[in-house]
Subunit: 226 residues, 2 copies
């Protein structure tokens, strides 16, 4: 209470950016995230979450956006503060990392081709730098929780999508198959989707395209500045 | 990305500690919190959340517990990280505050009598130091959200309580009256309460005492260290 100065603790921001890798013949869809290979100690050569130091004249969320763009070229459709990780032993020097999590639409995530950046399956990661495995696990847990009571899944999808597209997102997040008929009933009764009069045609029978009702917030973040 | 040093940003921890002030003849129960009167600039004389600087060898949650004990003498029954507030202009110098929120049982909150500490109605605060009004608003929002999907209300109650005690907590959090019969049905069907064979007697007819089923977590905090 009577301390008037603070010890030397540095503040960084890291971001967990989830996107969707759609399924193919031989595999289910999965949640993926971009990692950056570290080019200096500590943990040189290991993969780490994108991030960097907070500038003196920069708000935390601005640091998240800036470092994301610098390291991966990505601009997420959803960005929310996840947690502040600050354990004494998480780094050789004392660093408090304010971690954000973000969603990037699958079609936009493909535009990012940067040096030293690769996309990994979020549930099958190598040992990462610092406590970043733990951070990703926590972000996945938050994503799974949030999908139950918000329209957060929309952050993965383009403006128009089919019910099968949406179900694939839910299946990838939850890590299990969902019954198509039940899923359709639940989604249609939720009031969060608006059917369009357009259809996707292709190798399968035509599927109606939907869009999200924009009157429903992606996720209620309360009285925080948006 | 290429910055190797961090600018001068200091890290503090503050805590929003909610407790319950039971209703009386003339007023409803309300959510209250302790504030500390600042004895130095900036904002000297204003009320502020309890808190302090993070020590170099101290984890964030340990700072929350320590500064809480130092400033208010309180040891909360529930402590969870709320949010990191770090806007550039929130303080004359750059301070990132990791804010925790805590619940203190009503019977334990009365033991805390400290110099320069007073309890305030959370929904009727004077202008506080820094952005602390905004922080309290956000903590109240989180509390209201959380009461819907966890047994967080238990954090306000002693081990044994009546259904009327529990309903009073919900009413204070939600800021509205609940129908006693509906409330009893919902709580009894939730499986989170265990009836005891004891009753509270007094001026009213005897009321059965309940306790919470300890198999149900107070709130699911996911893969974070507990």
């Amino acid at each position: 209470m009577t301390r008037t100065s603070a010890p030397d603790i540095r503040v960084a921001v890291s971001t967990v950016i989830f996107s969707l890798r759609p399924g193919a013949e031989s595999r289910d869809a999965s949640i993926v995230l971009p990692l950056v290979r570290r080019t200096r100690e500590p943990h040189e050569g290991r993969w780490a979450l994108p991030g960097g130091w907070v500038d003196a004249d920069e708000n935390l969320e601005a640091t998240a956006s800036r470092t994301l763009a610098e390291t991966t070229g990505l601009a997420p459709s959803y960005l929310e503060q996840l947690y502040a990780f600050g354990d004494v032993d998480r780094s050789p020097t004392r660093v408090v990392s304010i971690v954000y999590w973000a969603l990037v639409r699958e079609d936009l995530s493909r535009t990012a081709e940067q040096h030293n950046v690769e996309w990994f399956d979020a549930t099958d990661l190598p040992p990462l730098a610092f406590d970043h495995n733990h951070i990703v696990d926590y972000a996945l847990w938050r994503l799974r929780n949030k999908v139950g009571y918000s329209r957060i899944a929309h952050g993965f999808l383009p403006e128009d999508f089919t019910l099968a597209d949406l179900r694939e997102v839910y299946e990838a997040i939850l890590g299990r198959r969902l019954d198509p008929a039940n899923f359709r009933r639940q989604v249609e009764s939720s009031g969060t989707l608006i059917p369009t009069d357009r259809f996707r045609t292709g190798s399968h029978r035509p599927a109606r395209l939907y869009r999200y009702n924009q009157d429903v917030e992606l996720a209620d973040r309360g009285p925080l500045p948006q």
